[in-house]
């Protein structure tokens, strides 16, 4: 009788252990994603130029990350790993667009500032930022990503290379050409240096 009780106890423990492990991993995943959520959402929004699509992209990235979370042995690498997934999801979404979707932020900005008086300098600055945003929307997915990582995320070129899993030289070259194309797009719109 005593032996029977022991066996039952062991059986209960054996069934509990994997479930509790799974719960612990789920909690760890939720905590790690939450730490990165703002940064990744903002990065996705900058790259995609659409808040709603950025939400969907981060959600998709989180789904992918959860699917592969069991294979991530070191939680300290989660930030770079998850960031890479987000960037890849953004790239996929941009490539899925048959034509570059141009989100014109000009009217939105004008509506925001409509209620207050602007100085001439402020108006020019707003128009310039608007022009940059529109030119940015016309870039290729890879150009957008490398510029966003470097100039919005403020990553070093080395970090950009790590994030994109490309050599540093390639990252430098890709950034250089992306900026050239952005400048060309701006100039095509009649942008002039202030």
């Amino acid at each position: 009788m005593e032996l029977e009780i022991d066996i039952r106890t062991v059986a209960v423990e054996a069934t509990r252990t994997p479930a509790s492990d799974a719960s612990a991993r789920a909690l760890a995943f939720a905590r790690l994603v939450d730490q990165q959520l703002d940064a990744t959402y903002r990065l996705a929004a900058v790259i995609l130029g659409d808040r709603v699509e950025a939400e969907d992209a981060v959600h998709d990235a989180a789904l992918r990350a959860w699917a592969g979370f069991a294979g991530l042995r070191d939680d300290a690498r989660f930030e770079a790993w998850f960031g890479r997934i987000v960037v890849n999801v953004c790239r996929d979404r941009l490539r899925a667009r048959r034509r570059g979707k141009v989100v014109d932020l000009g009217p939105a900005l004008l509506a925001e500032i409509d209620g207050r008086v602007q100085t001439p300098d402020e108006s020019v600055a707003v128009a310039e930022r608007d022009a940059v945003s529109r030119a940015f929307d016309r870039l290729s997915p890879d150009d957008r990503i490398v510029i966003a990582l470097r100039y919005w995320r403020d990553l070093s070129v080395d970090s950009v290379a790590v994030r994109l899993s490309i050599p540093v030289g390639t990252a430098k070259s890709r950034l250089h050409h992306a900026l050239q194309r952005l400048r060309a797009e701006l100039e095509r719109d009649g942008w002039h240096q202030r």
């Binding site: 991993r25 789920a26 939450d34 939400e55 959860w66 069991a70 940059v132 100039y151």
Partner: protein, 340 residues
Amino acid sequence: MTRPNDEAFDEVVRGGLATRDPGMAPESLRRRIASISEATSSTDRQRTSLRRLGSIAGLAAAAAVGLVFAGLVAVRWVGLPSVGSAPTPTALPAGIQPVWPPLVPGSPSGPDLRPIIVGATIAILFAAVWIVRVRRTRRIRQLVAIALVVMFACLLGVETLYTPIVEGSVGGPIEPADRAVDPDPVSGGKPVAYVDYRSGGAFQIGFSIRNNGPLAVTFDGVGDVLALNDFRFFRFVDLRLPRDQTLAMGSTDDTTQAFRPVDLAPGADLYMVARFRFTTCEEANLPVVPGVDAPETDTSQGYMSIGSIPIRSHALLFERITDLSIPIAAAFPQPTRCAH
């Protein structure tokens, strides 16, 4: 236009990107993210198991195809004699009179594509498994599944429809000595050769087949010989291969050998000898259907065409049967009474 210097341009870019920054993640997104691990943690082990099963199944499929490929290569390199390259002619044994004209073996029209097809299939399977493991999106899985289904449907279609075995260039009786006549409309325009009926005797027919497709084909033998045995006056005995395909004639055990499966290169001919035995008079007059009397035979000469022989072969994996019309019609006087 004056271009701004790099630093100034950097600031312009930063300012432009800042307008796209939406700020903190909305609460709705936080809830969506939180629900991912909560909803899926309970089924995580099941999904992991399924994923492992899928990987194992994929690897098993690839291994199975690999084994088949290895088997094909091994059989091709070790086991089967391959026809398609011209063997050295040998002298005909003394006393054997050729009935067929000298023959020229078919020259291969192209390389054997079977290893390429099988190798490509293995490569595609490995690539599919790799892609599914690396890019674990639902869309990728769907695309890979569709691609594999289409690929296997194509292979199955080719397997089903591919019938490259055709009649060869020659065919005719070998022995006993025959009386060949001009093409006769009764025999469908084929040259008719009379084979004298001899109760319990034997006669042989030589014919060739050709691999008319781009893939090498393994010729496995004849199919259902019962169809051949439907003829009341003779029985199919066996199939033999001439020892010398360049001569492809003669009928004795010296000039032929027992049949064994042969690889036929694309465009190659294979010559063979089919041996038949005349039925005895009593067998010939047995009722075909038990209980029903045999039809009364007349005394005139009649035709008894061999018709077609079912050829059994396979090009990749599956066996196929090709009904091959033998380009002759044997004819002989039908016996009316059994002479004892």
